[in-house]
């Protein structure tokens, strides 16, 4: 099997709102420039481009072609797009390199979440016959999921708040993220409900952002990066869209994806970057993957400190790779989610080699 590694990662600062275009591509251009500079490459060194974004977020059809403009597609480029988190574009790029057609790929995701009413826009991804017509919003849906776990005794409000507090404390060392600082759990628990039983700290902040990751195969990866983050497994699975018919307190698709990506071995994972946009979802994910306390979760601050739509999942892969490229970890795991209440889940495992 072709050896493929992540060799570069950049993301735009997580901010509540930018003044850029609704499609948000201005945030992308500096990411490309940073990667070209760090890797000593140009646009023409990239064999395949793949992006993740959403027309509903941009309020216009074919919004991703504006991003192709920001690449500069002259002479023509080899390009594709997914209407999902860019982690799924990463999967497509990984497959593309696996075919042997190309030996490098640049994956990017972007979106200006602040342009519309995000929780309403996200209802567009639900069953279009019987759920989306009710305008059931993403935060309320997560609230229904959170209460199921609370009622079942699977987690407590204190444990949920502890996830938020740990994320914000970790984000203190990340200048590019949106929420950080040391917070008192009791103070968090005294705050009002946003969507009972969810409080503000249980929900990822609305974030504008963009991210980009460079992949390369074999010797090309070794040329570009001193310590590439080799991808030893990637898999993604989906659960039934009928969320009233399944147990929302567990994530079978994450379990299946993790088992396939790790080969059943979750030991020795130094760092896991998990994409749970709500505190209780991180608890579901930890259990679904089977992570032990030996693994550091979301040292970047995670999505609870900044959750740019359609790039936050790709950022988990980027941060998990960065921990290896920087020499801070030997084996890492990245998780990304797309859709409502953890419907679709992707797991990637990365390793450094000495």
């Amino acid at each position: 099997m072709t050896d493929i590694a992540v060799v570069g990662f950049a993301h735009a600062p997580h901010v509540r709102e930018t003044s850029g275009t609704t499609n948000g591509v201005e945030m992308l251009v500096p990411c490309f420039q940073q990667l070209y500079e760090e890797l000593g490459i140009t646009k023409s060194d990239i064999g395949f481009w793949c992006s993740g974004s959403s027309d509903y977020l941009a309020g216009r059809s074919f919004s991703f072609i504006s991003a192709v403009d920001s690449i500069g597609a002259v002479p023509p480029i080899n390009e594709s797009h997914v209407e999902m988190d860019a982690a799924w574009a990463f999967y497509e790029a990984w497959i593309k390199i696996m075919t042997g057609e190309v030996d490098t790929a640049l994956v990017y995701g972007f979106g200006k979440s602040s342009a519309g009413n995000l929780r309403k826009i996200l209802s567009m991804q639900l069953d279009p016959y019987l759920v989306a017509p009710l305008a059931l919003d993403s935060v309320s849906l997560a609230g229904l999921q959170a209460r199921l776990g609370l009622d079942a005794g699977k987690w407590t409000s204190e444990e949920m708040a502890a996830v938020a507090a740990r994320s914000r404390a970790a984000a203190e060392s990340n200048p590019n993220t949106q929420l950080s600082g040391h917070v008192d759990i009791n103070e968090l628990l005294a705050s009002p409900f946003v969507a009972d039983p969810l409080r503000a700290h249980d929900c990822a902040p609305i974030t504008d952002g963009a991210a980009a990751v460079v992949l390369a195969a074999g010797d090309r990866a070794r040329e570009l990066c001193e310590r590439p983050a080799w991808i030893t497994g990637v898999d993604h699975r989906i659960d039934s869209p009928g969320f009233g018919a399944r147990d929302l307190t567990v994530s079978p698709s994450t379990t299946a994806a993790a088992r396939a990506a790790t080969g059943g071995d979750v030991g020795g994972i130094d760092v896991a970057e998990l994409h749970g946009p709500f505190t209780h979802q991180e608890l579901i994910l930890r259990e679904a993957i089977g992570l032990s306390d030996a693994t550091t979760i979301n040292p970047s601050g995670g999505p609870l400190s900044g959750n740019p739509m359609f790039s936050a999942g790709l950022e988990r892969i980027g941060y998990a790779a960065k921990a290896i490229m920087d020499g801070n970890a030997g084996r890492t795991l990245a998780h990304a989610t797309s859709g409502a209440v953890l419907q679709q889940n992707l797991v990637a495992v990365l390793e450094g080699r000495n």
Binding site: T21, D69, N117, Y129, A132, P133, Q145, D151, A195
Partner: protein, 326 residues
Amino acid sequence: MGKSAVAEKFSNEPLSAPLKLQFDYTRSVGPTVGAFVTALRDRKVIGARGSDGRVYVPPPEFDPNTAEPLTDFVGVSDAGTVVSWTWMPEPIAGQPLTTPFAWALIKLDGADTSLVHAVDVASPAGMSTGMRVRARWAQERVGRIQDIACFEPGESTGESGPSSESEPVTMVTTPIDLDYMHSASAEESFYLRGLKEGKLIGGRTGPGGKVYIPPRSANPTDGIPTKEQVELPDRGIVTTFCIVNVPFLGQRIKPPYVAAYVLLDGADIAFLHLILDCDAANVRMGMRVEAKWKPREEWDYTLENIEYFRPTGEPDAEYDTYKHHL
């Protein structure tokens, strides 16, 4: 020729304006969802029995375990038990209620899965897991999920409508209504501000660069950002065109008429506009045209300030002068 830097620079500050998206999705419902919404029209709720023996409400089109079509329909109650709930303090337009309400997963009596809907209670204190709720039916029912207006505390009244003689529901229409604050790019913004003043402002990356109108953020061949504003004259040539003979919904001009690419003098890219004030049959490649502006008091941030282009009567441009812009 014509490539002059703009004396009065227009601001790059992004222009923004509210953008309202409204459209209808019209979907065919098929045999399973169709049966469910047809029953709702008659004040009845039905589910379908899956291969695992469970009664799914609402019925999915295909069995989640075997992927077989689900059509073994089972009538269930219009009352049930709250399995989970959350509170909506500030309802969003388009949701079932305009006053604060609860969302709930509701397991109807006779069902093994939960349906999501709104529950009308005054405050979160009125909600609890395990509470009993019943459907509040809409006065007018057309065969859609909103035929249940919402749920309310209580038990089923046992009433249902008479079975309708009408044809089964085959389609549902879902209106979509989304609001954005749309922002233009810095370059689009100086272009639009120019139009408001009756000026055509393109952009280029710098000396020797190509002039684009509308301006791009960067030169697509090398990615160098646009740095310079360039004012262009309101006249140029037709590079290519088509004669529109077909009427279509929303058409504002009576066919036949000409839609053409107009290359302004000094520009390196043509844009699409109308050619009027002449017989469509006389329009040709290389023909010299000029803008016909609307009255100044009607100018806004739009290329519609130019109603159309019309022939100037000057000699046609030589093919070699524009062949690289086709």
